[in-house]
């Protein structure tokens, strides 16, 4: 999938080609914290997802990246309608499903499936592989006889022996189990698969196998992926676009290639710099920007830009005014008052993107002081 990204798409970053499959509009998910014995009162709220606007085009892979607690998993669960949104709307192929009931969701459930992080915990240890993969088919109306050939075919597609249909999950290695999870997700021929850190629990050489498998399946079945990951290394190989989240907000959205060569947000740059490069000489040469501190508590997010307490470039404006998502060339969006790796002209030409949070200020980024070389990661 190539992303041309020139036209500003409605409420979406980097204008994906094709019709949007998923549209998330100013989505908020807050978890109440309650106290009290008889009468529970809400004393605080965890701002897990705090005003995020995104869209995923049909056939596209969107990488959603952020550290623990940034809201990426909540976001993916909300898109699957496993968690209710506190505010905002969610559309699936144009249909508003924000508060759709069980009935309305049922036909849509076929079209959205999930692959989980832990292949040890996400397969029922007491069921045989055939039952695990066949279950979604049975639930959606196939009879027992019809299921088996389909399951065998699915096993073949994900690179397992169809004869293993009667084995239990414990007889497989981690990578093979993840293949079973993928086969289960594929069973109903979905349009969208949410992959929640599908390779984090696997060894490096096996990670590559699963990534390549996902890549092939996407081509074969015209799938749309939402790929959730905690760092920027693996997600690059599968994504067309990448969205970086921090403390419930979008920091940057860009085409996958550009994010690595031209990170605009200091947080993205810090995430990139934190990945050790497997090349000793390169490592010795590289100036590392190690951000100090840890993500703050999402119960009480900082004022202004949520990243400012850890940001090496933060100034007064960052403490006071929440930066809007500014639109740079190629549909690259970044929410930062002091952008990196951009030229003065590019900064001057930015506009406030409609996907900016409603609470964001109007202040567009300040041009960099010197020429605009920014700071390379």
């Amino acid at each position: 999938m190539s992303v041309e990204a020139t036209e500003p798409a409605a409420g979406g970053a980097a204008a994906p080609n094709g019709a949007p499959l998923i549209e998330v509009d100013h989505l908020k998910v807050f978890f109440p914290i309650k106290q009290g014995i008889l009468i529970e009162r809400e004393v605080a709220r965890v701002h897990a997802v705090n005003d995020v606007t995104l869209s995923i085009a049909e056939g596209e892979t969107l990488g959603l990246v952020g550290e623990s607690g940034c809201g990426k998993t909540t976001m993916s669960r909300a898109i699957m309608r496993l968690i209710d949104a506190t505010e905002g709307t969610l559309r699936f192929r144009g249909e508003d499903v924000t508060s759709a009931g069980r009935k309305q969701m049922e036909p849509l459930r076929r079209e959205m499936q999930m692959v989980f992080q832990d292949p040890f915990a996400s397969l029922n240890p007491r069921k045989r592989v055939g039952q695990i993969i066949g279950m979604p088919l049975r639930l959606h109306g196939s009879d027992r006889k019809g299921v088996e050939p389909q399951v065998r075919e699915l096993l073949g597609k994900v690179g397992l022996h169809p004869e293993h249909i009667n084995r239990f999950p414990h007889e497989f290695s981690g990578g093979q189990r993840q293949r079973i999870g993928v086969a289960r997700a594929l069973a109903l021929e979905p349009r969208l698969i949410v992959l929640d850190e599908p390779v984090s629990a696997l060894d490096v050489s096996v990670q590559a196998q699963i990534i390549n498998l996902l890549d092939d399946l996407q081509d074969d079945f015209k799938l749309t992926y939402l790929f959730v990951a905690h760092d920027l290394s693996v997600v690059r190989h599968v994504s067309d676009r990448i969205a970086v989240m921090y403390l419930g907000k979008l920091m940057e959205v860009s085409s996958a290639e550009e994010l690595y060569t031209k990170p605009i947000h200091p947080y993205t740059s810090a995430l990139l710099a934190a990945i050790p490069i497997p090349d000793p000489e390169e490592n010795r040469r590289r100036e590392r920007l190690v951000v100090s501190g840890e993500p703050p508590n999402p119960i009480n997010p900082p004022s202004g830009c949520v990243f400012h307490p850890r940001c090496p470039r933060a100034t007064d404006v960052c403490r006071e005014i929440e930066p809007p998502l500014a639109r740079y060339p190629n549909g690259h969006l970044a929410a930062c008052h002091h952008p990196m790796s951009v030229t003065q002209a590019e900064v001057a030409a930015t506009t406030k993107d409609p996907s900016s949070p409603l609470t964001a200020g109007e202040e567009l980024p300040e041009p960099p002081q010197t020429g605009g070389e920014g700071v390379q990661p």
């Binding site: 550290e67 623990s68 073949g156 690179g159 397992l160 022996h161 290695s173 981690g174 990578g175 093979q176 293949r179 060894d203 490096v204 050489s205 096996v206 990670q207 590559a208 196998q209 990534i211 390549n212 890549d215 905690h230 760092d231 920027l232 290394s233 693996v234 690059r236 190989h237 996958a256 290639e257 690595y260 810090a270 995430l271 990139l272 710099a273 934190a274 990945i275 050790p276 490069i277 497997p278 090349d279 000793p280 000489e281 390169e282 490592n283 590392r288 190690v290 951000v291 100090s292 840890e294």
Partner: protein, 350 residues
Amino acid sequence: MNDAQPLLTVDDLRVSFATEEGTVQAVDGVSFELAPGEVLAVVGESGSGKSVTAMTLMGLTRSPNARFEGQAHYKGTELIGASEAELRRVRGAEIAMIFQDPMTSLNPVVRIGDQIVEQIQEHEGVPDQQARERVVELLERVGIPRARERVDNYPFEFSGGMRQRVMIALALSCNPSVLIADEPTTALDVTIQAQILQGMRDLREETGAAIILVTHDLGVVADIADRIAVMYAGRIVEQGTLDEIFYDPQHPYTWGLLGSITRVDKPRPERLPAIAGLPPSLADRPEGCHFRPRCPHEFAQCTNVPPLEARVEGQPGHLDRCWLSAEEKRTKREVRPGEIGLAAKERTPA
């Protein structure tokens, strides 16, 4: 590396476990030396025996169905056959360990200060107040803010990164000469991982402790190690300095590992290079070279076990277990000009 006497010498260590599926040979003839102040990275995937090797040195794999052979000398103490009392003296004070999961390796119902004080007092007759002062200093040194207040907190009151710092403070509390870190950053976020690695580098500078870093992440290795031992299915398949392993790797498994890492500083390849197949079961390992079934370069001689020896001219400390000649290796490991990797093998379903 320096020429000083090695701190720790492991000689032909073998560990096997009797299980229902038969004997699992987890470690099969592992030998290495650790010099004072050096960082040795033991690299391998799950089931390669890297953690079992590390834990055996601390006597943590002892059980009725485990069998040990070989030696591990630490400053004149033989660790493998040592009595539990001897081990208690060494553990924590001389050789300390940091575990992968900071969530489960601290006692959840004891204040962190008390956990560290306990270790100090186990080894040294320090009065309470003095031990407590030392704990505060330690916590400050590993970068825990407001250490004096936080010393009385329970583990659940810390984040993952902070808990790992507490683990490091605990490990350092008796100034050990050897620190064994088993995947110390795997459970952490990347920005926190960078902080912890920076901290470990600083600590080595300050205390001169030697570190055995057990990991599967070659990025982390490139960042911090002096020497590397690559393990596969219970054996060391290649061993050498950081630069030897990264720039002149001799074993096809090492090529595969190096080739399959994702790099954020290079253009992305069309397809991620993967090593086909799976590591063998440790209860039923292939004859000869264990990597043979996954290796595209296998030939007749591979059914004999290649010894771990120096095979590269001018690199006496660079050992490997591969029968191919040095020239063959040089041409076969280049999958693209200037790029090391493992060529594809005729694929059989996993």
